[in-house]
Amino acid sequence: MEQILANGIYLGSQYAMIALGLTLIFALMNVLNFAHGQMYVLGGFVTYTIYGQLGFPFLTGLAMSCLTLFLLGALIERFLFAPVIRRSSREESTMLLAAGLAFFFDAVILLLFGEKQRGVPKIMDGVFNWDFRLIMPYDRILICVLAIVATVSFILFMQYSKTGRALRALAQDRVAAQLMGVNVEHYSMIGFALGAMLAGLVGGLLVTITGINLGMGGPTSIKAFMMVMIGGAGVISGAIAGGIILGFLEAIGLSVLSQYGDITYLLIFVSLMIFLAIRPQGLMGKPWG
């Protein structure tokens, strides 16, 4: 039982951060970022290159992952999403762009890093063992703590900094924020960049444990969509709740249902659909997004 809970917290802390980035982008721009999983993979590969290949300290790799994805996100918003949103007659057209970007990142990753599974040296040796009731490698605990610290600092940033206030105002009502003197274009760019950065950060964190490969992008995006749906799209607390819930469901499912084969996800999907039929806006979302 303790083991399942610990696994749940570990998975949930990672998932929450992925969902946070996705929900931030959605709240600000009303864009469903199909490329989110690919951004996560890209972040993982940056850390892999800096830490695993070039031998710099792990934190440098992590910082570079964040920086790369932040810049990438900013450029993508400025030169791709902003013009398309401005010119397109239907908002959904951005989905084509996002899907195109997902393919593009896949192609870039394929060319630069190939298809193989990549791993990095362990950042910490040893296993925490509490009387065989709870076994957890130290590096997982460290990553989990780092993820929680990052999530908390992100929330504090959104709550108390000037940028965070502007972003929240933007998410609430774009026009009203603009009337109050918020530089909408500037902050949209920062918001998108922050969302991408969170994806990159999780990628950098998780590469030390699960490694990284090209095929992880798509499934990660789907998981992120599910978390956002559980919690409610465009709500930060919802994304965190969704991430933790999915993390726990997965941890419980994998340990309880393991003898029945691979039906954990089938059950999660089905229960998600039933849940959404009853509560379409998710746990904390505004009705109809």
């Binding site: 010119r87 057209s93 393919f103 060319l111 969509f225 749906m229 959404l276």
Partner: protein
Amino acid sequence: MNSLSKLQLLGILGFFIAIFGIVPVAIEALGRNDLYFTLTSVGLLAIASAGVWLTFYIGRINIGQGAFALLGAYVSAILVTKFDISFWFSLPVAGLFAAVVAILIGLPILRLRGVYFAMITLVLTQVFTLTALALPITNGAKGITSIPLPGALSVFGITLIPDFSTLQNPRQAFYFATGVLLVLTFAAMYRLVNSRLGHLCRSMQQNEELASSIGVNVPYIRVVIYAISSFFGGIGGAMFGSIAQSVYPSSFQVVDSVNFMLNCFLGGLGYVFGPMLGTLVLYFGWDLLFEFGKYQLLIYSSLLIILMLVLPNGLLSLRLPKRKGNS
């Protein structure tokens, strides 16, 4: 339908001549028999994409067509291999089965809107793939293989469709069958869009509350449209399974669902023939880029992005006044 202008009639006639006359002759002349398969795939994907387009028409983003294509493929494959039923009978059954499932699933999930609906349909594709893996009747990851080619279809002793396995060139036969299906699908779509139901759909696309306030039965119409949409998906998938003579859980995946949606976007959401053009361009674009080897995906995705920047409202928005109505 009776208000077709001369130009539109000419366009339709030209389309018929093109797919049933010019293309086979051109393929014979070039000796590229493989093109039949490519064009058949385009046709079938266009049929499934037409379904997606229809859900766009009521203002829903549907990324779940892969689920119904997979369902249709399995239904037809199981009927043909396990129950020895003629493929031509299993084809409409597959479509109808997909439609019934769509009604059952659609009743709850069609209450969702916008991004929520898009995400749940995406999840739906995943659910169907996983179900296909888990159920015994679908034979798990091994899938259903060596499905026989479609047999003969005769009514009162007159052979309407010959047995495909006795034909010299089954691919050509599949091509013609798909051509007929494609024409039927888009004729039905055109008729639907220009009917009373089409007008109601447009009103829902703009504002569901307003539509329901003037007496449009919104929940009913959206379920009906979703069922029709999934019917197309089921038909396309069933035919695809028959051509490939095999169905696997990975036959239609999330990527395919996304591609169906992209076909619609690319062709233009405002035009009935958008999905057809979008499918053709995307499929052939991908094939043509094959010679670039490992840069294929890079160039393809870059072109998609550039296209989106230049023509955010779809390809057909290029020549709106001229192209309305014909192919």
